[in-house]
Symmetry: C2
Subunit: 330 residues, 2 copies
Amino acid sequence: MTMKKFINSVDTFLEDSLRGFAAAHADLVELHTAPTFLSRRHRKSGKVALISGGGSGHEPLHIGFIGPGMLDGACPGQVFTSPTPDQMLRAGETLECGAGVLFIVKNYSGDVMNFEMASELADFENATVLVEDDVALPGSSSTGRRGVMGTVIVEKVLGALAEEGADLGTLLEAGRHLHPRMASMGVAITSCTVPAAGRPTFVLAENEIEVGVGIHGEPGRRRDVLRPAAELVQELMDALLEELSPAPGAEVLLIVNGMGATPLAELYVLFGEASQVLERLGLRLERSLVGNYTTALDMAGASITLCLLDAEIKRAWDAPVHTSALRWGR
Amino acid sequence: MTMKKFINSVDTFLEDSLRGFAAAHADLVELHTAPTFLSRRHRKSGKVALISGGGSGHEPLHIGFIGPGMLDGACPGQVFTSPTPDQMLRAGETLECGAGVLFIVKNYSGDVMNFEMASELADFENATVLVEDDVALPGSSSTGRRGVMGTVIVEKVLGALAEEGADLGTLLEAGRHLHPRMASMGVAITSCTVPAAGRPTFVLAENEIEVGVGIHGEPGRRRDVLRPAAELVQELMDALLEELSPAPGAEVLLIVNGMGATPLAELYVLFGEASQVLERLGLRLERSLVGNYTTALDMAGASITLCLLDAEIKRAWDAPVHTSALRWGR
């Protein structure tokens, strides 16, 4: 089977894509090579530098969230492959400006290991926030849960606080406050195809879905047959609500995230069902986001994220942001 | 073959999707039923009401462009099916507030006919801007060209002018000024599947692409084999540049639009190649947009749009906009 993608070659895919990204958003970002990282063009001195990174193939995560109010830099690895410590080190050295560096890391072993190595080798003050919001699988005590769409909430909320001048300790505390308040879970109706592999990562039968799929095509809770959107959403929402146990009347941020190949019209079908689940339970939909934010290449699928809001999270979420993928208030 | 989509049923797809859209963006829009249309929640009195519409399946077009600085209302038809005149009439009656209504219509026979009927039956003053930016096929003198991604430019530019108080005549003039300055062309690597049909609209062989595809899966210029992104982009850009004949040093807006199932990372590959074509020709990339804006359900494909800028178009493009799909300056 031929792999159908808009690429020049498998070998130059990442480089070509990053070059296009930098050309499209030259007002916001700068692309650095050898080692590869992207930096925010107009930096603010004296603030903690927020740097994230991870394997490519999840765009706009993380590069699309560079800019005022979110990230100062991002280190993209090859597709679904962790970036190497030299990328994080160089990004940190370039972006640190007196208040230290906060690394925002999704919980995957390669990412964790390589960010840790960078953290240890760094001459600059740094700390790390680990994101692990995927409730699909029970995390063992040693590995924890996978980091998925909650990463965008962490980058937005901590990005707002850093922009206002919060120090490293305050940002770590905000991360600890945020984490137990958010949960995500996804479902795939097709696999993705990693360019270098040239064939689908996994195979689903004609009417089959993967409930709880990971953003690299990792197995979820189970295979199932495709069911009406309302039933799928109910199952995902049950898992999220069981995890979060919101009090009656709680205010929530509801996100329906596309995995890359799911049309917006279908994401809105899912959002409509999820918002009705909230309504039936007396929970208050206060903020929402619908679109492709944490993707898995060309996977058709979607994830739902719930975040329990309070005044501080809401204020940080609403704060001005100017990135290529999220922009408001300026 | 089973159709894999996140829907409850084929019959309720549009209704469910619109309900989800209205729930996600309750701060921006209101959903009206019987007949169906969406309106801007916070209206500005005394301005020309901008109303667009067309078949669904192209989201975020048009509903995602309702809000301050763009549309006042949109009339979605069933998937790939024109809205009916009663929708446009009711939307116009609801939204007209003293300065008349401007209908923005993509050039498809059903849309043209039904908007014309609404225009004739209307008790309110109204005028129509027809969008026909697709250069894939030579338009006959009677039917003209298809309207595609250029529609978003028309809605943004005329939306900004209307927000500033431009009258109907000024908006028509701005539309006439804009039209010869923009051109679009697309390419598909997979078909889309209309829910009610349950099977792909057309069939491409494993390595085949449709060059010049329409946003409903209409045939383009020809079938070809999948080639490197740089070659595909060169062919699309050649067609656009032949149409527009930009002067050396001309300032352009470059848009790479995804058809629904193409990952952002691939759209950036295309953007990178297109920006290099501009650079080689000494054209100036002044504004850019990359993402899914005028889609064709779950088609994997992309289109490129070029718009020659001048001070007035640039100013209107940059003006504040607050819609679910485009937002800046507020």
